[in-house]
Each structure stands twice: as structure tokens, then as C-alpha cells.
């Protein structure tokens, strides 16, 4: 019988890892200080699975990705934890170029089942690499899938899907959502990569967003609810992206705000604007609005609370496109 409990996003990720490791001995976990469990999602896994399957790596990001890369080529299903996703830039070539291009470039003959995990997100005052959200950069580079959950349910389901995928998948999670609790069934389930989710239905305007910004967008939607009916879509997976879900929504609402915590230029929101030009131009009654991190480095201190997209900025954008 299916039970549903409230657990945190970190615990949901841990359940996903544990279930997949129980299911398949080829799945193993490596990363910096994951035996101790710097974050909740790896804490205690070494006790169940032992040091053979839960490995601390040196501070060697290219070496760590390479270990996963090579092991995946040899048929294992590694899960590499970067701690902070921004550290992945130390392995820029492996992450942005080589992982995604391996399969295609060598004749589409051989899979690369490798999962990368990293936390990201603005709002903890520490600036720069500890905040970097790499999905804008990742979607630019072909061949690597990218997802970011906003709820414990999605976190568990997407992480299991990532591990079972035969391609490199970068599973991002937002540091500010680590402790967020939500319902998660005890029965096994998967959230397929490439499927967006309508988190709030509405008719006047669509807000497309992800991660922490789903919650900010829901707040903004609530704030304007007496005047404007907002549909909030959680991207969940940036690549592949669920364009049909978006077009369905905009067919109804005719207006679109993209809320993206990542740098504005040439990022996910820009791509959506371009795709709307190409696939949904006639659906629109107003130009697509972006609410992003301004095009400047992520500052720390007291600034990041208002430099990132906030419910107030989202609300203003919603009102603006509905004028």
C-alpha cells in the first residue's frame, strides 16, 4: 500500500540514491567529502553501501569527472557529486564538451550513463562559485541533459531517472531548498527527464520557472490572484525541454514571463524567447518578459537577496505583460 510522508528534498535525494544503489550494483557514488556527507543527501550512505561504493575523491574535479566518465565507458553507472555545481568549471572541458559529445562524435555506438550532482543558487550571501547555476551554460552545449527540481517529490523522481539514463545528466539542486519538506510516496516512481509540470493552473499569463524561483513565482501568483490568473510551470528539466507543455499553456494565456535565477545573457530564458519566436509567435499578445539575475557576477553580502529574482520583481513583470 502506498504511503505518503513528508520528507525534505535532501532526504528525497538520498532515497533516490539508496534505491538505485540497492537495485543495481553498477551504481556507485563519488565526490568530495561525501562519506561524511557534507549535505544531507549523502549522509549515512557509506554505512549501508560501504567504502567500495561510496568514495571520497581528492579535490580534483577533472579527475573526479574522469573517474565517472571512464567507469561509465566501462559499463558502470557512476554518480559524481561536485558539492557546489560551480566547481564543475574546474572540469570545464569534461563537463561542457567531452561528456555530451562522446556518444555522437564516436558514431552513436556507445552510451555514457553518468550522473553529475551539484548544488547551486543565489541567496546565501556567499557570492560567485558557491551560487553559480550552470544550466544556462550547460544547455548551450549539446549532449548533456540537465534538470533542477523544486520539490522533494520531483527531486527523488528526477534523480532516479538521471541514474537510469544512458546519457550524462547534470542533476542540479538548489541549496536553499535542501530542507524544504514535501509529500513523497513510499512506492517507487520516476519523474521522467524532459517533462515540465504545471505547479499552478491559470488563464491570463504563464510563468515558466524552476528551482527556488518556482516558490517565488507561486508567491507572486498568489499576490496577484484577485486580479490576474497566473499559470506557473516548473521547467524541471532544461534539456530536453518540454516545449509542448509551454506552448499548450501560452495558447491559453497568450502571455509569458520566464523567471530564471541564472545570468540573463544567452541563458535559458533567452532560449525560450527564441523558441517562442520560432514556435509560438502568433500565440503571443505581448513580448516574452525575462526576470533573471542581472548580467553581473553574483554578489554576496546583503545584496543577493534583491539581486536575484524576487516575488516582487516577478509580480511587477506579471503586471507588466498583462497591461
Amino acid at each position: 500500500m502506498t504511503a505518503i510522508r513528508e520528507i525534505s528534498l535532501g532526504e528525497a535525494m538520498k532515497e533516490a540514491l539508496a534505491e538505485e544503489m540497492r537495485r543495481d550494483d553498477d551504481v556507485f557514488l563519488l565526490g568530495v567529502s561525501i562519506r561524511a556527507g557534507t549535505f544531507l543527501h549523502t549522509k549515512g550512505l557509506v554505512e549501508e553501501f560501504g567504502e567500495r561504493r561510496v568514495l571520497d575523491t581528492p579535490l580534483s574535479e577533472p579527475g573526479g569527472v574522469g573517474t565517472a566518465f571512464g567507469a561509465a565507458q566501462e559499463g558502470l553507472r557512476p554518480v559524481l557529486d561536485f558539492m557546489y555545481a560551480g566547481f564543475a568549471y574546474f572540469a570545464g572541458s569534461e563537463v561542457f564538451i567531452q561528456a555530451g559529445q562522446y556518444h555522437f562524435l564516436h558514431g552513436s555506438k556507445h552510451p555514457l550513463p553518468m550522473t553529475l550532482i551539484g548544488t547551486c543558487g543565489v541567496g546565501r550571501r556567499v557570492a560567485n562559485e558557491h551560487a553559480t547555476l550552470p544550466y544556462g551554460a550547460l544547455i548551450h552545449h549539446p549532449g548533456i541533459k540537465v534538470c533542477l527540481p523544486s520539490t522533494p517529490y520531483d527531486a527523488k523522481g528526477l534523480l532516479k531517472a538521471a541514474i537510469r539514463d544512458n546519457n550524462p545528466v547534470f542533476f542540479l539542486w538548489h541549496t536553499s531548498l535542501m530542507a524544504l519538506k514535501g509529500p513523497v510516496p513510499t512506492d517507487e516512481y520516476i519523474v521522467p527527464i524532459g517533462v515540465a509540470d504545471v505547479k499552478r493552473a491559470g488563464t491570463d499569463v504563464t510563468v515558466l520557472t524552476s528551482g527556488l524561483q518556482v516558490h517565488h513565482s507561486l508567491k507572486a501568483a498568489e499576490a496577484v490572484s484577485s486580479e490576474i490568473s497566473v499559470e506557473v510551470i516548473d521547467v524541471r528539466s532544461f534539456e530536453p525541454f518540454d516545449l509542448p507543455c509551454l506552448l499548450n499553456s501560452v495558447t491559453k494565456t497568450t502571455r509569458l514571463v520566464v523567471v530564471d535565477e541564472d545570468f540573463e545573457r544567452g541563458g535559458f530564458a533567452a532560449e525560450i524567447a527564441a523558441q517562442m519566436m520560432e514556435h509560438g509567435y502568433d500565440l503571443l499578445d505581448a513580448p516574452v518578459r525575462r526576470v533573471c539575475h542581472p548580467h553581473m557576477p553574483v554578489p554576496g553580502g546583503y545584496i543577493d537577496a534583491y539581486s536575484m529574482p524576487t516575488p516582487a520583481r516577478i509580480e511587477a513583470a506579471i503586471r507588466d505583460v498583462c497591461r
Binding site: 568530495v32 567529502s33 561524511a36 574546474f90 553580502g301
Partner: protein, 339 residues
């Protein structure tokens, strides 16, 4: 553990003034480290803090004998507080920066990314190991301009696991650059024991592969650290190329405030860490030694501590009074590019 030169050619001895200076800087560093801990525990800091604890003698020694125009990469531990104090930066603006205030050295926008270009300390990245590539450039600039500046490149054992360390060792050795690899080896990186990450115990064994001379030093012994610093600086300043100094030190607390204190799956033994604090505190050891050698009197020791306490208190008061930095987005956007 004795200072054990392995191939290093320069030898220097500490004068009485050197010893007093080192001691004063250590008192200040450890006092300010405790103040930083008070501030973060009181919720007044805007980001991380990674306590220095009993591991600050190497940092003090690294900074004390540098000239202002010598470049330095401070170790990130204690956010370089010992290194910076000893090099003589305006430490109040360092604390203000950690508190997100307008008179922080980076205008309150950087959290812990402090920077003193006028003191040849050029900020840092949150990526461990990011110190290595630019240190080649500092040394290169000195050689290019035929100055006798040296570069003090400080970081932990963990940082030497990054490939970037190899490239810096290789390139500085190849070009004979005046760079000191100051490796503060506390045997642990975040929550993993060095023995679990690194095949050998002495990081400095890497140096020989590049033909770089190496020293090994007891990092709890302030005077040994100071002697090594003098020797290394003299070596680099004399144009003899890079030198590697490994300072064995200890971490007797968790990685960062609110973080774990594990080595892999295992909690670190609190009794052992207490023993280190009791028997291996560099200030306690240095006090005993300098009193015995009559370099300092009991009264001077007490005065120095008082002075440091006053400094810390004054900084804290000043920073709390300083307004929180909340510049407009437009103002920030205008600061992305240099004019």
C-alpha cells in the same frame, strides 16, 4: 619535528626583533580569529567562516617578513586572517567585508572574497586550488620587470590535489620564478583525511619531481615557521627559483562553522583534538619559549594580549556601526567593467 632543509640553499636566523614581531602577529591573529568566531556565532557575518584555531602560526610566518610589493595568496583557512595581519593590511576593512558593510574592502559585496591590490593581495576565488595559476603570473611579472619581488603562495594540503598545483610547480620551476609554495598541511580536507586522498604523507615530496627544493617544518612551532619563511624568502629573492615549504599543522575543530567534523565516515576524536589544543597550541608554545629565552617578559606578554583584545573590540564596534551595503542594481551593473 625539526626544521629539515632538503636541498634549500638559503639559511637565515631570526633576530630578537623578528621573534617579537612574529609573536605579536600571532597574538593578534588568534585574537581576531576568535573575534570572527564570535561575530559569525552571533549571526553578524554574511557568509562562511572557516576557523583558524591552533593552525595560525604558518600564516603569521608567511606574512611577517614580506615586503608590501611582494605578492601573496593567503590560505583560505581563517580567510587568511593571519597572513593578512602579518603582511600589514587594513584588517578592519576585512572584517567589515565579512559583515557586508559599506566600508568593507570590496564595498560589502564579496562576502569573503577580500582583496588588497595595493598590498599585492589580489582577492580570491572560492575554488580551492585557484591560487595556483595566478601565482605563476605574479612571479612572472617580477622576472619580466627584473624586480626582486617574491610571491608567497599559501594553501592547504587539499589544494595540492588539484591539477592546477602541478601546472604552477611546473611553470615556476621551468621559468625559475620567485614563488614560495607554502603548504599548510593539516592532514585533512573538509571532512576527508589526507591519508584517504593522497598516496603519501608528505606533500612536499612532489617538489623533487620538478627539481624544486623543499623544507619541512613543524607548523605549531612559530619560530620554526618564521625561520622557514626567512629562508624561503631569501631563496626566492636571490633568484634561485621556486621553493616548497611544507608546514605540518593541525585542525582541532570542524571544517567551518556549522559544518561537520568527520574524517570520512568517522567522527574525529574530540579527546584528541582537546589534547592538541592543550599541548600543541602555537601561542602557548611560543610564549613559553620566548619567556624562557628572555625575548619577552610576562608583562609584555600580557600587554600584547591586551592590545590585541582592544584592537578586536574596536574593529567590532566600528564594523557594527558601519552601514550595511545595499547598493542599487544600477550602481552594481556600472561596476562590472573597469574604466
Amino acid at each position: 619535528m625539526p626544521t629539515k632543509p632538503r636541498g634549500a640553499s638559503a639559511q637565515e636566523t631570526l633576530t630578537r626583533d623578528h621573534k617579537r614581531l612574529l609573536y605579536r602577529n600571532l597574538v593578534r591573529a588568534m585574537t581576531l580569529d576568535r573575534m570572527m568566531m564570535r561575530i559569525i556565532r552571533a549571526g553578524k557575518m554574511v557568509g562562511f567562516y572557516h576557523e583558524g584555531g591552533i593552525a595560525l602560526a604558518p600564516g603569521v610566518a608567511a606574512g611577517t617578513f614580506l615586503r608590501r610589493d611582494d605578492a601573496m595568496n593567503p590560505h583560505y583557512r581563517a580567510h587568511g586572517i593571519a597572513h593578512m595581519i602579518a603582511k600589514g593590511v587594513d584588517i578592519q576593512s576585512y572584517v567589515a567585508e565579512h559583515m557586508g558593510r559599506v566600508d568593507g574592502c570590496a564595498k560589502g559585496r564579496s562576502s569573503f572574497h577580500v582583496s588588497y591590490p595595493e598590498d599585492h593581495i589580489f582577492g580570491w576565488s572560492a575554488n580551492i586550488g585557484a591560487n595556483f595559476p595566478p601565482c605563476i603570473g605574479y612571479g612572472f611579472a617580477a622576472r619580466y620587470r627584473s624586480t626582486d619581488q617574491v610571491v608567497m603562495n599559501c594553501s592547504g594540503d587539499g589544494s595540492y590535489q588539484e591539477g592546477r598545483a602541478h601546472e604552477a610547480l611546473l611553470m615556476t620551476a621551468n621559468w625559475h620564478l620567485p614563488v614560495i609554495f607554502w603548504c599548510e598541511n593539516n592532514g585533512i580536507a573538509q571532512s576527508s583525511a589526507l591519508s584517504d586522498l593522497f598516496p603519501i604523507a608528505d606533500i612536499s615530496r612532489l617538489a623533487a619531481g620538478y627539481g624544486i627544493p623543499a623544507l619541512m617544518v613543524d607548523g605549531q612551532d612559530l619560530l620554526a615557521c618564521g625561520e622557514a619563511a626567512l629562508a624561503a624568502i631569501a631563496h626566492a629573492r636571490a633568484g634561485k627559483g621556486p621553493i616548497f615549504v611544507e608546514l605540518k599543522t593541525l585542525r582541532s575543530q570542524e571544517h567551518n562553522v556549522g559544518g561537520l567534523n568527520n574524517e570520512g565516515a568517522h567522527t574525529r576524536d574530540p579527546a584528541l583534538m582537546q589534547k592538541w589544543r592543550d599541548t600543541r597550541d602555537p601561542l602557548t608554545l611560543a610564549t613559553a619559549r620566548l619567556l624562557k629565552d628572555q625575548v619577552l617578559t610576562e608583562a609584555e606578554v600580557a600587554d600584547l594580549q591586551l592590545e590585541a583584545d582592544r584592537e578586536a573590540a574596536a574593529i567590532e564596534v566600528h564594523c557594527e556601526a558601519s552601514p550595511k551595503a545595499t547598493p542599487s542594481i544600477d550602481e552594481l551593473m556600472a561596476g562590472v567593467y573597469a574604466p
